[in-house]
Symmetry: C2
Subunit: 399 residues, 2 copies
Amino acid sequence: MPKSFHPPQRTLLGPGPSDVSPRVLEAMARPTIGHLDPLFVAMMDELKGMLQYAFRTQNALTLPVSAPGSAGMETAFVNLVEAGDQVIVCQNGVFGGRMKENVERCGAIPIMVEDAWGQPVNPNRLEDTLKAHPGVRTVAFVQAETSTGVESDSRTLVEVAHRHDCLAIVDAVTALAGTPVEVDKWGIDAVYAGSQKCLSCTPGLSPVSFNAAAVERIRKRTHKVQSWFLDLNLIMGYWGTGTKRTYHHTAPINALYGLHEALVMLQEEGIENAWARHQRNYEALRDGLEAMGLTLLVEPAHRLPQLNAVRVPEGVNEAAVRDALLNDYSIEIGAGLGPLAGKIWRIGLMGQASNPRNVCILLSALENILSAQGHSLDRGAAISAARAALVGMATEPFG
Amino acid sequence: MPKSFHPPQRTLLGPGPSDVSPRVLEAMARPTIGHLDPLFVAMMDELKGMLQYAFRTQNALTLPVSAPGSAGMETAFVNLVEAGDQVIVCQNGVFGGRMKENVERCGAIPIMVEDAWGQPVNPNRLEDTLKAHPGVRTVAFVQAETSTGVESDSRTLVEVAHRHDCLAIVDAVTALAGTPVEVDKWGIDAVYAGSQKCLSCTPGLSPVSFNAAAVERIRKRTHKVQSWFLDLNLIMGYWGTGTKRTYHHTAPINALYGLHEALVMLQEEGIENAWARHQRNYEALRDGLEAMGLTLLVEPAHRLPQLNAVRVPEGVNEAAVRDALLNDYSIEIGAGLGPLAGKIWRIGLMGQASNPRNVCILLSALENILSAQGHSLDRGAAISAARAALVGMATEPFG
């Protein structure tokens, strides 16, 4: 008969989930109350307001979908796309491919704009494709490709989409709170994120936001949304404004306590400070990795500070390195996916995990493991480089 | 700026969520580890085994969907139903109506077998409808209607469905662990439940199980499942057997810790003992309510022990009673829905909340509130009746 499960303490430096603060874990363990309890409804309102803060938006339709990021993606597509629609999907990694699957399963026609894995989406190619397909109503792309560590230029891509009277769906799963996602300033029409990346909450919720143009599209649909569970017309009755909420589904109460606490922490820090922290720790990690002779997959201008794709050096057994990190140091990093399998590691510095301590313990562990595998490197150079980059981070445990 | 949210301690005696054990809450607060971590994968296997125990099945395809019960319902329909199919939906409350919505959103044709709210599904009417519609491939019904407190006869309804070469989809959201759900013995083809009812876990997960006939139906589909997130072909790659798991979506790690602990507790008690406990506490509640002059909506033979629909007496302000219970006693009970709105209260004794203490505090509070509203009753009779019914429950705080 199975016994209680006691997980070890890991340091989560992969592509997500990231380290979760004890404050968030403790919040999740608070007493469960009803999903229609007036106190819970008041908490929901606070949560919506804090998600608006994180997304930099005034959109009324801003809420956490009661399921992981993949369901947030599906929420965007099933509500905004109808059978027979043409949808441009920009693909430069795994998650663009998942968008394509979503379009097809809506009975719509995906038109692909493909860039190499590790490259950002090319706005010129998007524009050319829009010119060639005047019937397209929707453009979708991934701002922060979790499979490669590339950031695409959301602001420009949304501009291009709008020039051709399209709505823009933006995947911000890994972006949100790690790098700017300016929903209102950039005019993003629909966006979804994940709780378990730079928000440092546990996995299982997907914050989403839809602007007025997206809501109008949903209201004017000719057919019902194919998913009952993800139908925003119904979800809004529960997450809407006012004290009278209509039961739709039973909200994941305790998971929402956790997200609420994670967002309180984000507000306490200030989102601009969170972006700066992600940038600073990335720079230290980068300097350390380069001092170790390692190189990053992505060109500097398009790198996500929260997710670093590091090339596996010739002759190194990449899986053995990850196993050693996990088993000896209890540190998780990610493997490459698709065409990058075996070729890169994905090192995340997301949310709470983006801190100088993690930069140093990772560099130190990696140095030891690579040395043990016979990879020649300048011992100690990585930590020195990282420490140099971290000097002056007064609010953190180095200075 | 919002502060941390500190919910009060409620006693949850509504239609769910039910009271969550501190053991489950504490489990949810354990450190988050990765969804591909070998230790997490081992935990998933234990979880599947314990869900098989709860569902009384050997079905390999038994797992928790990463979203609430509504998504479990949708998982059953989108995987087993294709556009153009005829599906018989038996409706005797809210959740049969939701099944109809699911069928329609699959592009299929629902054929309704309707019974009054408060009545069980009539097997003879199902059989007549099957005879009249020989092209039907699927029958769906709710074993435990959460909106009315009625239990339908799953075993017989599945038999009828099988006689007509149909697969049977059974909604066991409120049934599982409160009253027998014998997946293998009764031959249920597809079943879904909720974490937040008689399993006494927090809301947000939906255990499901599919037998070999259902899996064959899914494998032989002519079109892809319309939901990427809920496509069992893909989910099985992650929840399947063996140590090599394919990433699908990021599992809600900490929520699964909670469900694991709730299932450990169910195994410790023994599911037959859990059923008996639900029955015994129902009998005490019933005796107490009747001693107070209140009556139950459902005929004794079809009552769910875990969910009691109580008629609101003439002249009583039902909402004021619920408000007083919540505000003065921190006890939540449920209101009626649809045609039963304003006419019934729904009193749940589910999972951990099914205990003699809750029976007595509820009866006592209700007696005081109804007296204060001027409803004449025999003071003290309810508790005496409940105590008499509870005599001999040696393992609980009465004897």
